[in-house]
């Protein structure tokens, strides 16, 4: 496999992620109640829904940070069944499964004892056992790409929230993942810093990165998403092309959720559109 960090072809067709009937319960509470989803190579799928609807839990199930209670999950060629009679992968097998999925978190979670450069090198060096020089070249290229070429030597505490989140994106991309998961990555940022992070994500989308994005940024969903999936109470209530779902929702629950955002969806910002 070639290292396709910087040049991802946007060919659609092959399924990168396939989820069937995924469930996740905590005791008697079922947070995800049978969600199915298919994401093709190069697609950007945006998950929206009211808070507590299970979208973040669903996302965390995809790289097994949460162990699904039932269902089937396929990432690349690897398929895993969950539920009684099936066992979760663990140890090295679990780690290898996760290594092919990039994830960016709300709180950035950079490693505070490492510089920006070391943070981005961490995955390749520690997980892939890549030679430091090779990993450094990848890391420098990625940091330049997210606009932080001049900040490689900075520690996370010396960076703004937006800068930290861009480092976190570069860190995940350094593993050349098959799919990138974004879990409300702009929710912890000051409003004036949101744009720089969304711009980086738009750039990744244009270059053909397969992305599943949980967000409340409706303008981003409208401009970048190939498909918008609306979740409520642990289930998918509606999905389809961004414009249709956001502007002419069929489901009353979608409509009521979206009514709070209409000012954002209506206005067109950049020339960028999917």
């Amino acid at each position: 496999m070639t290292n396709s960090v910087l040049t991802n072809s946007a060919s659609t067709g092959d399924v990168m992620v396939r989820v069937e009937g995924l469930r996740k319960s905590y005791g008697t509470v079922e947070a995800v109640r049978g969600v199915s989803l298919e994401v093709h190579r190069g697609q950007v799928v945006v998950l929206i829904g009211p808070s507590g609807c299970g979208k973040s839990t669903f996302l965390r199930c995809l790289n097994l940070l949460e162990a699904p209670s039932a269902g089937t999950l396929q990432v690349g060629e690897r398929t895993i069944d969950f539920g009684s009679g099936h066992s979760m992968p663990h140890g090295r097998a679990l780690a290898r499964f996760r290594a092919r999925i990039g994830m960016v978190f709300q709180q950035f979670d950079l490693f505070p004892h490492m510089t920006a450069l070391r943070n981005v090198m961490a995955g390749p060096v520690i997980v892939k056992k890549m030679a430091a020089a090779e990993a450094e070249a990848i890391a420098r290229a990625l940091l330049a790409k997210v606009g932080l070429g001049a900040f490689t030597g900075r520690y996370p505490r010396e960076l703004s929230g937006g800068q930290q989140q861009r480092v976190a994106i570069a860190r995940a991309m350094a593993m050349a993942p098959e799919v990138m998961l974004f879990d409300e990555v702009t929710s912890a940022l000051d409003p004036e810093l949101v744009g720089e992070v969304l711009d980086v994500m738009k750039q990744l989308a244009i270059e053909g990165t397969t992305m599943i994005v949980v967000t409340h940024e409706m303008a981003f969903a409208r401009d970048v998403a190939d498909r918008v999936v609306v979740m409520d109470a642990g289930q998918v209530v509606e999905q389809g092309v961004a414009e249709e779902v956001l502007l002419q929702p069929k489901n009353p629950r979608t409509a009521s959720f979206l009514s709070r955002f209409h000012s954002t969806i209506g206005e067109r910002k950049g020339p960028l559109s999917s």
Binding site: A95, A99, L110, M175
Partner: protein, 219 residues
Amino acid sequence: MAYKWDFGVLYAYLNLWVKGLSVTLAYSAGTVLGGLIIGVICGMLLLYRRKWVTLPVHYYVEIFRCTPLLVQIVWFYYALPIVLSVELPAWLAAGLGLTLYMGAFSTEIFRGGIISIDKGQWQAARALGMTGGELMRHIILPQAIKRMVPPFVNQSIIQLKNTSLLYVVAVPDLMYTGSVVVADTFRPLEVYTSVGIMYFAILYPLTLWATRMEARVDQ
């Protein structure tokens, strides 16, 4: 009539003092090191989710935290040989008690250091595909060790003072040496004042250093 202080008489026992001081320092170093090793192992075990692993460690820690060290030393000296029906030399019985005591506190310090690391660090490392060992070695421990050092140094300082309890089972440490010299000279004021000064002279620089370390970790 005012008491006439005479520290001069203590010089006659110089080699006893040197011996007592070295016993105190050796017990401190030995039991701190032994306790550290126990603490790392038991602290790691406490991170396992299996009850049959964590429960014995939990009880070990609580038994040693919730009984007085003096009771432990005396128990190891008098009771343990009977329980095991082996003759334990005083130095070993006493040292065992002190080591296990230090081990119990070190276990808590180690565990506390590990769990003080933000959950986000664990999940970010796991999401990158690190195994448990990799994330512990490269992500968690480098951050946690910095936080463990100040409480560990503090506990070591307490431990050095605690070695004075060895006195009760006739281990010839600094405190016991003091009692020997008192019996010989009938000068308890000079002797115990000197003993106190010697402990202070060792520990004061250590506490200053520990305070500096804490300030550095807080940055």
